[in-house]
């Protein structure tokens, strides 16, 4: 049950309007940022022309750029941003840990490392192979971190950071040992969207789409779980089943996002923090808001990655770290670090 359903009927009508309005505002913002992101780059296309290219394709140079390069890249950014933000929201809810997110808990690092190993062994060439390795890696990392960290938020974060550092160290060592086999590691070590729109990525994108839908379906039982296990059982939510399904969704979302763009930190931490207050304790709304705001954040970061260097591009993960830092500091000062 959502928080709105639980409250009195009078309050319900008063509170649901701003929530839906905010969602609408978020969608409008997402559209505007997407158009901007499609327009800005080495060859800029004015926003009006972008809209014309999207809805009235004429085959001019600008239109070809929009359709073949920029729009697919924007689509990737939207998918990855939504996946990471929702994965972050789910982890925070499930672990009751405001500091958790796939990046901080080492799940994306595990996925990136598994893809590195897979491609060095020649097994992760295709998109199916990469997706499988990414998911195996994120499952293994999540299981390890949860087994070691258990219930303590702090210990979970500590374990995740240790794991990230260890995997990064091992990967760097492997790269120095076998430079040829691990050449691709450069990509998997720092997340980027540059050039990724040229790869066939239908499978991971489909996995993200299905998982996002699953997250929406799960958000109601999760809401019941938020109230405590006994309450959830009384309300008829299968506690164990909901937990397992959520963990599966988290690993698939972060694994698929990493398979698309490499490890990107902070999106999953920042977005749920930002939307926590407007969502007012309702998991479905938190999930929806994250789904909209995650893409906005990643699109903005991706625009930054294209304009920050006079030559070439900065990997987008570097930009998300830079954007994510101040936002996280603000969130911590605003809400406190949660559990003391």
């Amino acid at each position: 049950m959502s928080a709105a359903d639980r409250s009195l009927p009078v309050a319900k009508t008063r509170r649901q309007v701003p929530r839906a309005g905010l969602l609408l505002g978020g969608l409008v913002l997402l559209g505007a940022v997407a158009v901007l992101s499609i327009g800005i780059g080495a060859h800029s296309v004015p926003p009006a022309e972008v809209v014309r290219a999207l809805f009235d394709y004429q085959g001019t140079d600008d239109h070809v750029i929009v359709w073949d390069v920029r729009a697919p890249r924007a689509l990737l950014a939207v998918a990855v941003g939504a996946a990471l933000a929702v994965a972050g929201a789910l982890i925070q809810i499930l672990g009751r840990n405001p500091l958790a997110e796939p990046g901080v808990l080492g799940v994306t690092a595990g996925a990136g490392f598994a893809i590195t190993i897979g491609s060095a062994l020649g097994l992760a060439g295709g998109q199916a192979g990469q997706l499988v390795f990414a998911i195996i890696g994120s499952v293994a990392a999540a299981l390890l971190v949860m087994a070691v960290g258990r219930q303590s938020p702090l210990r979970l974060v500590l374990t995740g950071m240790v794991l990230t550092a260890v995997l990064g160290g091992i990967a760097l060592g492997l790269r120095m040992m076998l430079p040829d086999a691990f050449d691709t590691y450069r990509f998997w070590s720092v997340g980027t969207l540059a050039g990724r729109e040229q790869e066939p990525l239908a499978l991971p994108l489909a996995a993200i789409g299905v998982s996002l839908l699953g997250a929406l379906l799960l958000s109601r039982p999760l809401n019941a779980l938020e109230l405590g296990e006994s309450v959830a059982q009384t309300l008829g939510a299968g506690v164990a089943r909901t937990r397992t399904a959520t963990v599966i969704l988290i690993t698939v979302l972060s694994g698929a996002a990493t398979a698309v763009a490499g490890p990107i930190l902070f999106v999953g931490l920042i977005v749920p923090h930002l939307v926590r207050r407007p969502a007012a304790g309702s998991v479905p709304w938190l999930t929806l808001y994250s789904m909209v705001l995650g893409p906005v954040l990643l699109l903005v970061a991706d625009i930054g990655s294209r304009v920050l260097l006079p030559t070439g591009e900065v990997p987008v993960a570097i930009v998300t770290a830079f954007l994510g830092g101040p936002m996280l500091i603000w969130a911590v000062r605003q809400y406190g670090a949660g559990t003391r």
Partner: protein, 331 residues
């Protein structure tokens, strides 16, 4: 409470003695090991001046001494910050001091001429700047270690992003040198690089020893410390300066060596069985960790030498995970 019971005190003595023996052994091994093996007898003869060897005195000795001193300095810096924040995650490498010091180093390399003194100064300034930023951002309201750590992690991510951006913008030669450095490495260290950082570290460690008692009292709790006559504000500022100075002095020579500062105090604390985060075990563990990691870094892929940061991360990390698992099982 941090006061040791007789049995624990005995254990601390035994473990410290074992550490000293281990440090001497690892140091000797470091002097023997290289492209050609020198027998321990020859190394001792060279050290006592009976024989002369450029390889041992000019190549291996600075590296071994640097490994031990820097390891101890990182361990102490980690213990200081973990004590101040009362949080195992509040170590300099997590809250961005290493990254800030490294920004200073990158600035000295790309904008200035990059002499040893410039690197050390810029590195200390970078570390101080970041610690000031983290402190200011986390101040206001009641002090919370966890809040400081989270803000530190955020600042660390931002500063690391700036560092990557500087390297990407830099000219190719500088960029290649800086990338090799970004993992933290003792490769090619010689005496000329070491005088300034060593002098800084020794002064700071001496200062630290004189304040160890007050710091121990401070770790027992604010009110108790004030009752026993410790001026908390000044003590904390001094501790921060010492911790940042140690971290920056090391970073100016080796680049950011992750994980020694995080792992050494925690490992040392668990080995000694103390409740707080004592300094001496942290220093000794740091020295053992860094020197051991450097030996492995040289040996693993010989003749190619890995950056020591890679090995320190792998070893320290695995040990810490194992320790965390044990803690969970006991609880």
């Amino acid at each position: 409470m941090t006061a040791l019971k007789p049995r624990a005190a005995h254990r601390a003595t035994v473990i410290s003695a074992a550490f000293v023996a281990l440090i001497l052994g690892l140091g000797l091994l470091g002097l023997c090991y290289g492209a050609s093996w020198s027998s321990p007898g020859k190394v001792l003869a060279v050290l006592t001046g009976a024989e002369h060897s450029v390889v041992i005195l000019e190549w291996r000795l600075p590296r071994v001494v640097a490994g031990l001193v820097f390891g101890a300095a990182l361990g102490v810096a980690g213990a200081i910050f973990q004590n101040l924040t009362r949080n195992p995650l509040g170590s300099p490498d997590v809250i961005g001091l290493d990254a800030g010091a490294y920004t200073g180093v990158l600035f000295a390399l790309t904008v200035l001429s990059g002499t040893s003194a410039q690197l050390a100064t810029a590195s200390v300034l970078g570390g101080l700047l970041v610690s000031a930023v983290v402190y200011l951002l986390s101040s206001g309201g009641a002090f919370s270690g966890l809040r400081l750590v989270v803000i530190g992690i955020a600042v660390n991510a931002m500063v690391t992003a700036i560092n990557s951006w500087i390297v990407l913008r830099a000219e190719l030669e500088v960029a290649i040198a800086a990338v090799g450095w970004s993992a933290g490495s003792l490769n090619g260290v010689d005496w000329a690089d070491l005088w300034i950082p060593f002098a800084v570290i020794f002064v700071l460690l001496a200062l630290m020893t004189s304040q160890a008692r007050a710091m121990h009292q401070a770790s027992l709790g604010d009110s108790l410390a004030v009752t026993t006559g410790v001026t908390l504000g000044r003590l904390r500022l001094l501790m921060v300066l010492i911790g940042v100075g140690c971290t920056a002095a090391v970073t100016s020579v080796t680049g950011p060596i992750a994980f020694i500062a995080l792992a050494a105090p925690q490992i040392g604390r668990r080995l000694v069985g103390a409740a707080g985060t004592p300094l001496l075990p942290a220093a000794l563990t740091g020295a053992v960790l860094l020197q051991g990691a450097d030996l492995l870094a040289q040996a693993l892929l010989a003749p190619v030498a890995l950056p020591v940061g890679v090995v320190s991360t792998a070893i320290g990390g695995c040990y810490l995970i194992w320790q965390l698992t044990k803690e969970v099982r006991r609880a």
